[in-house]
């Protein structure tokens, strides 16, 4: 679906703003919403651009900056922290050569933190795009990244 089609699959009402923004973000390879798209959405639901921007900046799942193809979000809250005996963030930082908040040069991975994702009984946990990974160990984290990297390399498009 094109961005336009996604937007128009919702009623032209401002209460669907969040749904639209999430859907557009999900569709985009680099998980962000551009100024043009904000424009387009604002005029479709007939609100000011500034309103869409205020929504964008309030919700952490939405970004106006391009991010990696894979947005890695490591849970930072106490139950995960307590069970993290190898430092998930550091492991990923070293493997990808970036620090928290950055995107790799190739544009494939971004590293972020997230608030609790409700998997505290399988801590430590992280989220990559829509997948949740739990009971993390150092090996497991490295495996996941290697798999995703291979996957990205193997793509023809």
């Amino acid at each position: 679906m094109s961005i336009q089609q996604i937007i128009q699959s919702y009623p032209a009402k401002s209460e669907y703003l969040l749904e639209m923004l999430i859907a557009v973000d999900q569709q985009k390879k680099h998980h962000y919403i551009s100024a043009e798209e904000i424009n387009e959405i604002a005029s479709y639901v007939k609100v000011k651009e500034s309103h869409v921007c205020s929504v964008m900046s309030f919700y952490t799942l939405l970004s106006t900056q391009p991010r990696g193809e894979y947005v890695i979000q490591v849970c930072k809250d106490v139950p995960c922290y307590i069970n993290d005996d190898f430092n998930v963030v550091l492991t990923i930082e070293e493997e990808l050569g970036i620090v928290l908040g950055q995107t790799t040069n190739c544009g494939r991975f971004s590293l972020e933190q997230t608030a609790c994702i409700g998997c505290c009984d399988e801590a430590p946990a992280m989220r990559i795009n829509h997948e949740i990974y739990t009971n993390l160990t150092k090996e497991k984290v490295l495996d996941i990244i290697h798999t995703l990297r291979g996957d990205a390399n193997g793509r023809t498009t």
């Binding site: 106490v78 139950p79 609790c116």
Partner: protein, 421 residues
């Protein structure tokens, strides 16, 4: 037997995507039963049960429900599935393992109050929950448990999912409503309450996922029998999210009256490596941190009235003696500094200062004056803010000042001695 599985009885017994499985284990039969009663009879049972809200605040469900039922015209039922309090995962389990039960609970609630439209507001991080609930809605509609003339009765009701986009504060009723309307989730001043003026100013009844899931149970055994379960302080069963340094982390359903210690030891198997428990945080980041000596109280710690902090949504986070108190408080305060919606100055600015003060304690640079500032600032945030976030966030500081005074004193004394241990 510590556990009592009522809301979780179908967990792992059914394929959560198959309505037939749910129906085979008496699914929707409580909706059928309710439809044979009058709406006010259903509300009578709920009133008799003394069910309290399971989202954290713990008020009597029937009070909100009765006042909402008295409203006329267009009105909405909202299921609050914006679970985001660190340490809580019960709503995710309810939605993923028995999604039809959530639908049944919402239907009963709509029938009892005369609402025709409902939303489930699910946080965007919970994609599996969203998928399962969407499937459950579609299937229920196909089988006439949702839509017009449900089971050939005069009752019509339908549900739509709305997603949250990563804002903890949207768990608060009015912030959630603002978000449903497509705005930043900043709360409104009450009154009026949502039951009178909520979603686009229409009366709106908001309940937590677990609260809705209790309704089929109440209809099944009746309000009086329900009230017999639990303690003098709270009735029914409670889902407990158990996490941290504990052998068997997970979700447990226990009757009120069960002690925190029993949940940790009998169900959770105690700490791994048999280390001593240093502290336990109740409810999530917004809850009290208590020492081992207090674990013999009821899971509903209302009896102790610890700093307004009740059990909250039912999280128990166990921390052994390898952890530093201030390190944990610091994480909690960073969480709130990040999640503050910014509407009230004490909350927006205060949490940043709390983080800085706690950092002084971590590096042994805190003085008695810092301690006094910390205490008064925490109190001011608690007393002067508009929503549950600011009102409860200082609990972890105020409770540890009460229960772990030696930890504070040790850090202050360390500085006085010029850094000599």
């Amino acid at each position: 037997m510590v556990e009592r599985r009522e809301l979780t009885k179908r967990f792992d017994q059914i394929n959560p995507e198959q309505i037939q499985d749910f129906l085979a284990l008496d699914g929707f039969s409580m909706l059928e039963k309710a439809l044979k009663m009058t709406p006010s009879e259903v509300r009578d049972e709920i009133r008799a049960s003394r069910l309290t809200g399971r989202g954290g605040a713990g008020f009597l469900t029937s009070i909100k429900m009765d006042s909402f039922a008295a409203e006329t015209g267009k009105k909405y039922i909202v299921c609050n599935a914006d679970e985001g309090e660190p340490g809580n995962f019960k709503d995710r389990y309810l939605m993923e393992k028995d999604p039809f039960q959530v639908i049944e609970g919402m239907c009963i609630s709509a029938y009892a109050t005369g609402a025709q439209e409902g939303f489930i507001y699910i946080r965007g991080e919970y994609q599996t929950s969203i998928k399962r609930i969407q499937n459950a809605i579609d299937e229920s509609r196909k089988h006439h448990y949702l839509g017009t003339h449900i089971l050939q009765s005069a009752f019509s009701f339908d549900i739509t999912i709305r997603q949250g986009a990563g804002a903890y504060v949207c768990g608060e009723e009015f912030a959630l409503i603002e978000s449903l309307e497509g705005k930043p989730g900043r709360t409104r001043v009450k009154p009026p309450y949502p039951a009178q003026e909520g979603y686009f100013s229409y009366p709106t009844l908001i309940n937590n996922v677990e609260t809705f899931c209790n309704l089929p149970f109440i209809v099944r055994i009746g309000g009086d029998a329900y009230r017999q379960i639990g303690s003098d302080f709270a009735s029914g069963t409670k889902l407990i999210s158990l996490s941290g340094n504990v052998k068997h982390k997970g979700l447990y359903e226990v009757p009120y009256g069960t002690t925190i210690r029993d949940v940790i030891f009998k169900l959770g198997g105690g700490t791994p490596n048999h280390r001593a428990i240093k502290m336990v945080q109740l409810g999530g980041a917004c809850g009290a941190i208590i020492p081992d000596e207090l674990l013999d109280m009821d899971i509903d710690n209302e009896r102790f009235q610890i700093f307004d902090s009740k059990m909250g949504a039912g999280a128990i986070i166990v921390m052994d003696d390898s952890h530093d108190l201030f390190d944990i408080i610091h994480r909690n305060m960073e969480f709130f500094a990040h999640e503050s919606c910014g509407k009230c100055t004490p909350c927006r600015e205060g949490h940043i200062q709390l983080v800085k003060l706690i950092e002084k304690f971590i590096i042994n640079e805190a003085s008695q004056k810092d301690y006094d500032t910390l205490r008064s600032l925490a109190q001011v945030i608690h007393d002067t803010t508009l929503c549950g976030l600011g009102q409860t966030s200082p609990t972890c500081i105020l409770s540890t000042m009460e229960f772990f005074p030696e930890e504070y004193n040790r850090r202050i004394a360390y500085r006085k001695r010029g850094g000599q241990a």
